[in-house]
Symmetry: C2
Subunit: 243 residues, 2 copies
Amino acid sequence: MPSLPASEIRALCFDVFGTVVDWYGSVQAEVQRLGLPLGANGGGDFALAWRAGYAPAMQDVRSGALPWTDLDGLHRRILDRLLAERGVVLAEAQAAEFNRVWHRLQPWPDSVAGLTRLKQRFTITTLSNGHVALLLNMAKNAGLPWDTVLSAELFGHYKPDPEVYLGAARLLGLRPAQVMMVACHPGDLRAAAACGLRTAHVARPLERGPGGGMEAWQPGEFDVAAEDFVDLARQLGATLEHE
Amino acid sequence: MPSLPASEIRALCFDVFGTVVDWYGSVQAEVQRLGLPLGANGGGDFALAWRAGYAPAMQDVRSGALPWTDLDGLHRRILDRLLAERGVVLAEAQAAEFNRVWHRLQPWPDSVAGLTRLKQRFTITTLSNGHVALLLNMAKNAGLPWDTVLSAELFGHYKPDPEVYLGAARLLGLRPAQVMMVACHPGDLRAAAACGLRTAHVARPLERGPGGGMEAWQPGEFDVAAEDFVDLARQLGATLEHE
C-alpha cells in the first residue's frame, strides 16, 4: 500500500448489506426455515428479486415520489409486491417476521474477526442505508463490534447521495481524507471518493449467490483492494495485541 | 425491583458526564499534568467553574442567542472567559489541548465492568449533550463498550429538551417505555420520565469532588436507584455469561 498514508486514516465506514453480511444466503435460509413456497434455488431467486427492488425503492424516496421511508418500510413494499406477483399469501405475522430477516442477516466468515482487528487501530462504524434500529439489531444478533452505528437515516438521504459520506465525516469530527469507505460495491466507493474519502474494495464473490458475479472495477481504482476483512486489517496494519 | 417490568426494557441510554466519567477528577488531573496556574484545590475549583458555565452556554443555544454549537465550541467559550477572568494566558496549542480534556475523561471504577455486564442483556448507548466525535474519542480512550453513540447533536437539541429522549427512542426503534435513561442527575431523569422513558438513578457522590454533594431526589421517584453500574446490572438481571 505504498501510495496510501494509512497513518492519516482514523475511521473506517462500512457498507453493510453484502459487504459485512450475506443477504443472499440469509434470505435463502429464512425461506427454508419458514417453509415459504418461494423455493426456486432454495429461495435464492427470491432473495435476488427482493434485493433488486431496493435501488428503485430508494430512487422513489430520492425523487420525492415517496416521503422518507426506512428500510423496513421499503423492504415491506417490495415484499408485498413480489408475493402478490407470485400469488403467495402470508399471514400478517409471518410477513412481518419474514420482513425482519434483514435485521438477522448473518456475517461473512471473516467479518467479526476482521472487524475485531480493525477496531484495535481505527474507529469502525457502519455507513449503511439500513436504519439505526435495523443495524443495532443486526449487530447484537451477529456480534458485530461497531464503535458506533451511522446510517443514511441520520442524514435524510440514501447512499450514494453525497450528504451521507460528508455527514459521516462531519459527525466523526474528521476531514474526509481521514475516513475510509469500505464496500464491495464500486458505485458506493466511487461516490465516497468523489466526496474526498479514501476507499477500500473488499471482494464478495458470493454476494449474489454461486455464479452471481461481482460488479466490475478497474485495477488501482481504489486505495486498497482486499480479499476479505482479515486481509484488509493486514493491509492497514491492524493486528490484535497478541499477534 | 417488583414494580419494574425489566423484561420490557430493551435499551439503556446513559448520561455520560458525571454518570459514566469523572469530569472533576479528570480536569483536576489535567491541570496538574499540564502544569497550569489554576491550582486551587489542585485544579478542582477550576473544574467546577468550567462545568458551571455549561448550562448557561446550552441555554444560549436553546434561546437562539447562539446558533447550534457543539460542546467543543461551548467548552472553549467558557474556558476563554475563565482564563481571562484569572489573567491566565495560554498558547493556542495548549488551550486547544486543554479544551480537549473533555474527550479524555476517565471512567468511574465500576463503569466499564458494569457496562460490559449490561451489554449482555440490553442495547447500551450514550445519550449525552456531548457531540458524536467527542463521545467516540472518549469511548476509545476509556474502553467504554457502547453498542452505539447517540447524542444531542443528532437532534439539534440539548437535554433536557424532549426532542432528545423521544429522538433516541425513535432511532432505537422502540417505544419510550422500552428505553431506560440512566443518570446521576435527577433533572435528566425527570425530563426522560416526562417523555415516557423508564429511569435509573446512579449515585455519584464524588461528581463535584469530595464534599461536593449530590442533587436531591425523592425515595421511589425513579424506577431503579443504584449504587453504581455493577449494582444496576445486578438489579436489572444482567450478568456475565460465566457468572
